[in-house]
């Protein structure tokens, strides 16, 4: 029981439930099942992207280019759909997934083979991808009437009360849970992030695992891009601008350690849900949307402080005392 309470995921679920109760006390309607489902549906894209980011962060890297990847892939997907409306949607989704994967692989390749720190690589590709969106679209928007009906309808189609969009994220969560927990590759990714030196000595190619992590992040961004475009029914250059911060925030809140090797799918899911609930509740409670950014920033900082306090170990103090005495 004590172990269960110490568990990061349990703590987070308690926080999420408390948050729901507090909101529910002010606005009881918020807790209606249909509303909760729609909040979940609204958070789906964030969940998908956060899971990709989690894998990257576990390998001690960071992917700042996810949002730009979503924008570029989304713009390509939307352009293809508007030019060839008869092309079946699954083909378009597959295309988006492939393109997203390739963009992720570029990041991964630069980190793996060129040995450039991930933050530098993705800072660069972030602006390259984002700029390419502008080159492709020439700054123009692609609006709902230019997209085909099936293209827009699929994520909205409701199955057992939850739209396909929500089911997509459930599938991704289940898939990632299985992959990270029960597949050898998933375990190796944890190992590579936890201690690269130890992983190297037992024969794990750390760089390659980082490449794979970026590929996964790219694949998920590719899938998310179709969902994003069809959900909001518009594609333009600034789409998902700054969303990478929300994605990283979801991971950090979910207990994924930026130092690598630590983080679970469930934690990440809860982190994303926490942000999603806040984002959805603010307008309902009547707080100006201008507060949103500061609140998510504050939440990130509180979450990392909580992380660092809970991780703080008594440690091996050898010289600290001597230093204090001397001074």
């Amino acid at each position: 029981m004590k172990n269960l309470l110490k568990n990061r995921e349990t703590q987070l679920s308690i926080v999420v439930v408390m948050l729901l109760v507090i909101i529910g006390l002010t606005i009881p309607d918020f807790l209606a099942l249909s509303n909760l489902l729609s909040v979940y549906n609204d958070t789906s894209i964030l969940i998908i992207l956060a899971l990709g980011q989690m894998v990257v962060i576990i390998t001690r890297c960071i992917d700042l280019s996810v949002a730009a990847n979503v924008a570029l892939t989304g713009m390509v997907v939307a352009t293809v759909n508007s030019m060839y409306p008869d092309l079946p949607v699954p083909v378009i989704i597959l295309m988006g997934a492939c393109l997203g994967t390739i963009l992720g692989m570029i990041n991964g390749w630069l980190v793996w083979k060129m040995n450039i720190p991930a933050i530098v690589v993705t800072l660069g590709t972030m602006s390259i991808y984002r700029g390419t969106v502008f080159l492709i679209s020439k700054g123009a928007w692609i609006n709902a009437h230019q997209m085909s009906e099936t293209f827009l309808a699929i994520p909205r189609f409701e199955l057992l009360g939850l739209p396909i969009l929500g089911w997509c994220s459930i599938m991704v969560v289940a898939g990632m849970y299985y992959f990270m927990r029960y597949r050898q590759l998933g375990r190796k990714i944890y190992a590579a992030g936890n201690s690269p030196t130890a992983a190297y000595y037992i024969g794990i190619d750390v760089g390659k695992k980082q490449f794979i992590a970026f590929t996964i992040s790219g694949l998920l961004a590719g899938i998310a891009s179709y969902l994003w475009i069809s959900r909001y029914a518009v594609a333009y250059t600034d789409i998902a601008n700054g969303f990478e911060l929300q994605v990283i925030a979801a991971c950090v809140i979910g207990g994924v350690s930026i130092a690598g090797g630590k983080g679970t799918v469930v934690g990440c899911l809860l982190g994303a849900l926490f942000l999603g609930i806040i984002n959805n509740a603010l307008p309902v409670i009547g707080i100006s949307p201008f507060w949103q950014m500061a609140i998510s920033g504050g939440v990130i900082i509180i979450a990392v402080i909580a992380n660092s306090l809970s991780e703080r170990k008594p440690g091996r103090i050898i010289l600290r005392k001597a230093v204090q005495n001397a001074s």
Partner: protein, 334 residues
């Protein structure tokens, strides 16, 4: 090559190992690139080679460059600050409110500097006292600081600045050079001396090389980092004074996305993101290189977002190129 002396020889040696022999140092490679860009610019646009064009062009990067100098020090000690643009926005907001209350220039500037420094201190305290990686801290404070400006300003703008306030951003010295640019050059010299010629600078490199070794040799690592983060905050305040004065107004979107440009300047200048190496000379040349590229493209009517592609490509290729060359060299030797 005047900066090669016995003091920082070790740093230059480690850097040279990764470069092919004909490139003596990262700085000269950058300088060569800058010269080439300069020559290309001369041919590409007839308007480029004009004293006024060049002087005006300096306004474009001086403010960012002022932040890049202290940020280089932060990156040398293995930390990073991506909240810089948000700090600029927050201190600009503070100045806006002070300007609304009283038109006193000293009070306005003081407010900007204090708020900037405070933001830096907050970052520094979170990093050093709670031992949180600086990238997470500053991702958080990046949206926190920017978020606070959104709360304070909403969709309004502050523009009650007195006329004399305009000098910092629009004034000229010797009737040709922008005040901003001269001030940046002055700061560059100060930072060069600070990093390359003082104990403080040696400590910065020591921490970057190995924080543990630095700690055991009696350097107060946390205090040093805190000072560096506060310095970044202070100079964000300085840059904010200039930017606000140049624009004459404060909006919540002020300086949006600057962190990319500023970090690119530093990394392009040869400061390793892994810490321990880099020089102010390199950063200054990188600043000029980026300035030249932006001006040249601007004269050719290239839109800003396309420029960001080129800056992104530059960032990656300039770092990848020496590594590729080194790999190629090893292969041919075998």
């Amino acid at each position: 090559m005047e900066q090669v002396n016995t003091e920082n020889l070790d740093i230059n040696i480690t850097e040279r190992k990764t470069l092919p022999g004909w490139l003596f140092s990262w700085e000269s490679f950058l300088f060569l690139t800058a010269v080439i860009v300069f020559i290309i610019n001369c041919f590409a646009s007839p308007y480029f080679l004009d004293l006024w064009t060049l002087s005006d062009a300096t306004f474009d990067f001086s403010e960012k460059a002022i932040i890049a100098l202290p940020l280089a020090l932060v990156i040398i000690v293995r930390e990073i600050d991506i909240s810089v643009a948000s700090i600029v926005a927050l201190s600009s907001t503070a100045m806006g409110f002070v300007a609304q209350a009283s038109g006193d220039i000293t009070a306005i500037c003081f407010a900007g500097l204090v708020v900037g420094t405070l933001c830096g201190v907050i970052n520094g305290l979170l990093v050093t006292k709670l031992n949180i990686p600086s990238i997470v801290v500053t991702i958080g404070t990046m949206s926190l600081f920017r978020g606070v400006t959104y709360i304070l300003l909403g969709d309004t703008a502050l523009k009650d600045y007195p006329e004399s306030f305009a000098f910092f951003g629009q004034g000229y010295v010797f009737s040709l050079f922008g005040f901003e640019f001269i001030f940046f050059l002055f700061l560059a010299v100060i930072f060069y001396i600070l990093l390359q010629r003082t104990n403080f600078g040696r400590r910065t490199y020591a921490i970057g090389h190995s924080p543990t070794a630095a700690y055991y040799s009696g350097i107060n690592v946390n205090k040093h980092k805190l000072v560096l983060f506060s310095l970044v905050g202070l100079f964000c305040g300085v840059a904010s004074i200039m930017l606000t004065s140049r624009l004459g107004s404060t909006r919540p979107t002020i300086a949006l996305g600057w962190e990319l440009n500023i970090i690119t300047m530093v990394v392009l200048g040869g400061v390793s993101i892994l810490g321990g190496s880099g020089s102010i000379v390199g950063v200054v040349i990188a600043i000029f290189l980026m300035g030249l590229v932006t001006v040249g493209l601007g004269l050719l009517n290239v839109p800003g977002i396309v420029m960001s592609i080129i800056i992104g490509l530059m960032l990656i290729s300039v770092i990848a190129l020496p590594k590729l060359l080194a790999k190629f060299k090893i292969r041919t030797k075998k």
